[in-house]
Structure formats: C-alpha cells, structure tokens
Symmetry: C7
Subunit: 95 residues, 7 copies
C-alpha cells in the first residue's frame, strides 16, 4: 500500500534524528525536540488548487524542512507519514 | 436512501481498523486512535465552488486519507458517514 | 406568512427524527442528537453573492444534510426554520 | 433627522413581538427572545463595496429576518435602529 | 495643525451628546453610552486601497454614524479625533 | 547604519510627547499614553506587495499618525524605530 | 549541508547581539531582548507563490530586520536558522 497525494499535497517520512557519541557510536535519536527534517515519499500532481495554479518544486527523495504544526499525520501499515501542502515545506536540505 | 453530495463535497465511510493477532485471527478495530482511512461512497459534481473551478479527483471506491477535524458527520439509516470537501482529502491509498 | 430567502440563502425546516419501537409504533423523535436532516422550504435566487456567481442546486422539497452550527434560526408563526447558505448544505438525501 | 445608509448598508427598525392572548387581546412583546424580524427603513445605494459589485435586493417597508449578532445599533431621536449589511439579511418575510 | 487622512480613511470628531431637561435647558452629554454620531472633519482621497478602487462618499461636515470599536483614536492639540475607514461609516444622519 | 524598508513598509521614529508647564517650560513627555505621532524616517519602494500594486503616499519627514498595535519595533544603534505597512498609517499631520 | 529555500522563503541566521563594556571589551550578547537582526543566508527563487507573483528583493549577505513571531526555526548541523517569507522581512540594515 502507498499514499498517492492529491493536488499540492506532499507525503513526508520524518527522518530519525541521530546522535553520535564521542566514541563514534551512532545512537538513534532520543532527542526531545521533534526534528523537522523529513524525506519526500510522494508528490501530488499540483495544478489548480483552491483556485490557484501550483507547480510542484520538490521531488521524491528530497530531504526537506517543513513548518511545525503543519500537515496531517497518517499511519499506514505501521509506518507513520506526514502529508503537508507544498507551501508548508520551507526549504530543501542539500549536501 | 443515499447521500448525493453538492459541489466539491465527497461522502466518505470510515474504514474500521482491523488488528490481526499473532494467531492470525482478525479482530475488528478497538483502536483508540480514530483511523483516518475512509472509502469514497459518493462524489459531488465539482464545478464552480465558492468562486473557484473545482475538478473532482477522487472516485467512488477510492480509499482515502482525510484531514482530522474536517467534515460533517452524518447518520443515515443507522449508518455513519463523513461529508468532506475534496480539499480535505490529502491522499488516496493505493495498493 | 412565508420566508423569501435572498441570494444564496436556503430556508430549511428541520425533520423530526422518528424512532420505531420493536412493536412497530412510530415515536416522534426524542433523540438527544439534533438531526441534521432538513427539508428545503424556500430557495434564494442565487446570482452574484459576495462577488461570486452562485447557481442554486437545491430545490423546494429536497431533503438535505447541512453543516452543524451553520445558519440562522428563525421562528415565524410558531414554526421554526433554519436559513443557511447553500454552501452549508453538504448533501441531498435521495431515495 | 433620518439615517442615509452608505454602500450595501440597510437601516432596520426591529419589530416589536406581539402576543395575542386567548381572549384576543394583543399584548406588546415581553418575549425574552429577541425577535430577529425587522422592517427596512432605509436602503444604501449598493454599487462597488469592498471591491465587489452589490445590487440591493430589499426595499423600504420590507419585513426581513437578519443574522443574530450582525449590525450596528444606533439611537437617533430616542428611536433605536440597527444598520446591517444587506448580506446579513437572510430572508424577506412575505404574506 | 490638522490631520490629512490617507486612502479611504476619514477623520471624525465625535459629537457631544446633549440632553434637554424638561425646562428646556440643554445639558452637555453626561450619557454613559458613548454616542456613535460624529462629524466628518477630513476625507482621504480614496483611490486604490488594498488592491480595491474606493470612491469616497462622505464629505467634510457630514454627520455620520460609525461602527463601534472601529477606528484609531487620535489626540492632536488637546482635541480628540477618530480616524476610520469609510467602510466603517454605516450611515449619514440627514435632516 | 540605517533601515531600508522593503515593499510597502515605512520606517517611523516616534515623536516624544512634550508638555508645557504653566510657566512655559517644556518638559519632555512623561505621558503614560503612548503618543501615536511619528516622523517618517524611510519609505519603501512600494510596487507589487502581496499581489497588489501599492503606491507610496508618505515621504521622509512627514509627521504621521499610525494605528495602535501595528508594526514591528526595531532597535538600531540604541535608537528605536517602528516599521509599519503604509496601510497602518491613518493620517499625515499637516501644519 | 545547506538549506535551499522554496518560493518566497528566505533563510536567515540571527546575528548575535554584542555589547561593549566601558573598557572597550566586546562581550557576546547576553541581551535578554531577542535581537531581530539577521543575515540572509539563502534566498528562494520567488515566482508564483500562493497565486501571486513574488520578486525577491533581498540577497545573500543582506542584514535584515524581520517580524517578531514570524518564521520556522531550523537546526541543521548544530547551527540554528530561521526560515521566513520575504514578506516578514521589514527592512534591510544598510551602512
């Protein structure tokens, strides 16, 4: 099963924050701060949304930062996703 | 009796969350989390809605995810439905 | 006396919820849940409303479902009506 | 002195609710429920209001129902009026 | 010094409510109710305001009724004025 | 250092309220009421702002009245400024 | 890693407020007032945003003042950034 977003919606998978100890061991995120980084899992077709033409600017695989409090949390097959409007994505994280 | 939605409205029937025990027995959902998955039961004609042209993108039988808190709950012949605007449907669940 | 709605307004008469006892006797609604079903009693002419062209899609006699909390309650000659904007009607109940 | 409403504004005079006793005597309204019926006393010219063309649809003498909480209460020469936007008038009461 | 309003703004001077005693003596207003009558002291040029063309319909000297809670109170040379948008003026008081 | 406002923004410097004692001595403002008079220090270029064409109508040196609660307070080199949208300026104070 | 803002978004790095003691020693900011000055780190491409054409007016390296409460705080590689819409930048600080 997969999520096919409508309009300007984008399906995100939150990235787990990782921490590296001084010895170099990577510990999966126990950070209390909810990380706002996520990976784009699916992108809507854009087009006419709420009377406005929207061109999609993110693509699957992009690492993005999205607005706190934005989006709809979805649980599918025990996995959690966040579906946001592209407008709630503020930046792409590039290498 | 059936519901015929107006404009960009979509009639949904919430899907019952199912849980499978380790022995393989399927138990109907006792989940406290209200599942946001629903099946599309009827689709409005779209067209001019609130001054904006809306094209309907979901069809009867689609399994969809809709925004929490969205929509009007309706009870008809002992069955419960949710009527939402298409814009409150964030994604279609595809196989 | 009757109500002639303006613009995109629709005059509704709430339908009394009925309950059938096992013996087949119909009891008028004592339901605590306010039924959202109503019958269309009068329909505004539509046209330019708040800068947007509105075409009326319901007609007198339609049984409809309307949004909770929407509308203006009106008492006229001891009868109670609800006047809503057509946009607050989410679906027509068809047989 | 009289009130000349601007734009899409309409001056209303609230109708006193009357009650007829069984003996046929008419008692002026002691109703606690504020009646929403009012008579149109003056009508603005309509035209361009807030960037939208408004055509006036009520006329002096019309008995109308207006939205609760709408309008500006005005006292002029010991008489009380309510000035509402035409859009806050939901229906005309016709005989 | 005087106030020159911008755009669709109108400078008002609140009229002091007067009370006439039975003996015919006029007492300056001790009314607790803040009167909403005011005299137009200066009128903005209108034109393009917030993307919408506004034509000014009041003129200096007009006695007007304005919306409660509207406007910016201004004190200039010990005199108090209220600056409102023309849209907050609901009616002109004519003789 | 100086502030160069963007779009329809205007940089203001609040004018200190002065009080003249009966002996004619001018005391710098100890007024508790925050004066809303300010001098225009810098004016944005106007143009397309939030999808609407804005023409700037104030100029550097103008004494203006601005809406209470409007604007962003800025401290630069120990001086305090308020940056407002031109629309929050209600009137120019002319001699 | 770096942040690539979308649409009309701008990535800012808050400037640390500095204080000079009387002896001339510069102390890094212990100011309780959160400084609103920031340096532009990255600028979105502008273009069609929410149905409106936006031209970017700030550039990387600009020192700017932005609206309090605006923007999304982002932590990337232990550095903190604020991503705001260009409209939340009220002025550029020029020398």
């Amino acid at each position: 099963m997969k999520l096919v977003p409508l309009g300007d919606k984008v399906v995100l998978k939150q990235l787990v924050a990782e921490e590296t100890t001084k010895s170099g061991i990577v510990l999966p995120g126990q950070a209390k701060e909810k990380p706002q980084q996520a990976e784009v899992v699916a992108v809507g077709p854009g087009g006419m949304v709420d009377g406005k033409e929207v061109t999609m600017q993110v693509k699957v695989g992009d690492k993005v930062i999205y607005s706190k409090y934005a989006g709809t949390e979805v649980k599918l097959d025990e996995e959690e996703f966040i579906v946001v409007k592209q407008n709630d994505i503020v930046a792409i994280v590039a290498d």
